[in-house]
Symmetry: C2
Subunit: 298 residues, 2 copies
Amino acid sequence: MTSDRTQPSGTLLGPGDDAAVLAAPDGRVVTTTDLLVQNVHFRLDWSTPHQAGRKAIAVNLSDIAAMGAVPTGLLVGLGCPPDLPTTVVDELAAGMWEEAHGAGVGIAGGDMVTATALTISVTAFGDLQGRSPVTRSGARPGDVVAVAGRLGWAAAGWAVLGRGFRSPVAVVGAHRVPEPPYAAGPQAAAAGATSMVDVSDGLLADLGHIAESSGVAIDLRTDLLEIPQRLVEVASALGKDARHWVLTGGEDQALVATFSADQPLPEEWMAIGSVTEGHGVTVDGAEYEEDPGWQHWR
Amino acid sequence: MTSDRTQPSGTLLGPGDDAAVLAAPDGRVVTTTDLLVQNVHFRLDWSTPHQAGRKAIAVNLSDIAAMGAVPTGLLVGLGCPPDLPTTVVDELAAGMWEEAHGAGVGIAGGDMVTATALTISVTAFGDLQGRSPVTRSGARPGDVVAVAGRLGWAAAGWAVLGRGFRSPVAVVGAHRVPEPPYAAGPQAAAAGATSMVDVSDGLLADLGHIAESSGVAIDLRTDLLEIPQRLVEVASALGKDARHWVLTGGEDQALVATFSADQPLPEEWMAIGSVTEGHGVTVDGAEYEEDPGWQHWR
């Protein structure tokens, strides 16, 4: 799992002792943990172990980015049924390391145990580089709402897989392995983002978390929301609505944040709405008519 | 799990956002993670949920102490079968918080998910207060080997429970909830301990880790090893050998360390042997005749 791997310089003491030691140059450490269980949070008939490994790391590093922090390292606990082929563990580990290395970090340690179902626990660490953490509670009336990263792709992939198809690869791949815009988190924090969250439950649902925590209302403008042509084509083939995927699809791990209106947005960010007095999330000034909640596959 | 709980001052941002923020005053963070699965690592017919919760926290905080660090916080992931009574979760959380508060820290966040078996993932954090981490690899010939905390008690409790008894309470309780000497870890580090490990696999096995990592031999002297009268009585009743429990019993989470011989040991520490040139671990100069490996219950 961690032997023969290259640890980055922030891993001050790697695997093999009672605990690992990671650099925390800021004097604070941002940290989050997720537990993922086979056939509850991932399916190895829909994803390869390599893809499941990448996704397990990505969803945690995305939470670090959503605080405005840069990732510094990971710990992984792996619970394996006794009859699990070692190739599955090897591929899972390879996927985890690929995603970790892509974000510039390593897996500094962990635990491997016997379990009844394949279980992955990931803890991710990040550094705020002297900035305040960007929470969900700082949005103010007058702020601009902006997004970085993709929306609706994983939901489209999920719909395709659910029909028993394995293509188009672009959307199926998006469900299997998200592409969180890791750098956009610290970028937003440096630009003074007033609130931020990663989109794991769906755009409307996660903006709902910001609206509730901040005590504000949020209105999305669909003329600003890009609906990718590829999603329109897939939706049309399945008799679905691509806009609904963009508004409610989870698991793309896009970042959504609020910014003061009197300054330009950072490069990766695109305005999609505004913050006003009140409460709740509306679309073009009206309540969204469909069920806004993204159901994680479970 | 974390609502309505008092967070210590080191929890800079607690539950409810994408990630938690913990103080890391030293500029480094010591961290370790364990995954515990019901009926693999704990049994709810042998322990209450409250006891299982305390133990899950204790084994992780013990790893932090074994690096010479003071604990600063915890994250917990909980995987619960759909039919798990909420009282079990409440008692588990109460036990976790009791152990955490006893060590001066809080549970700063976590994750609660559906799982097929009750699964607990714990990540613990610690601060080195400016000292170097005490690893397994620094023991030198001439050093004194010393122990802090209890040995053999959990093994005695395990033997009693395995025979279907529920008493004596002192040894059964030791199996259910260890009492790691948390403060003895930083104390040893401040006194210049050259190596340290927590005893989870058994004294001989864990000293074997130090001997191997440090490239030295270790000899234990049984005239220095205290065999508690209570363990002698229990062993006698079961036809077992109390000394064997002390030498090989795991899960008491005692700390064992090596110190330069030319200085007094810190207060909680008791000399039990010495480091020499060579390799392996001996008892009174001879190989230990019994199987030295402690088998965790699984």
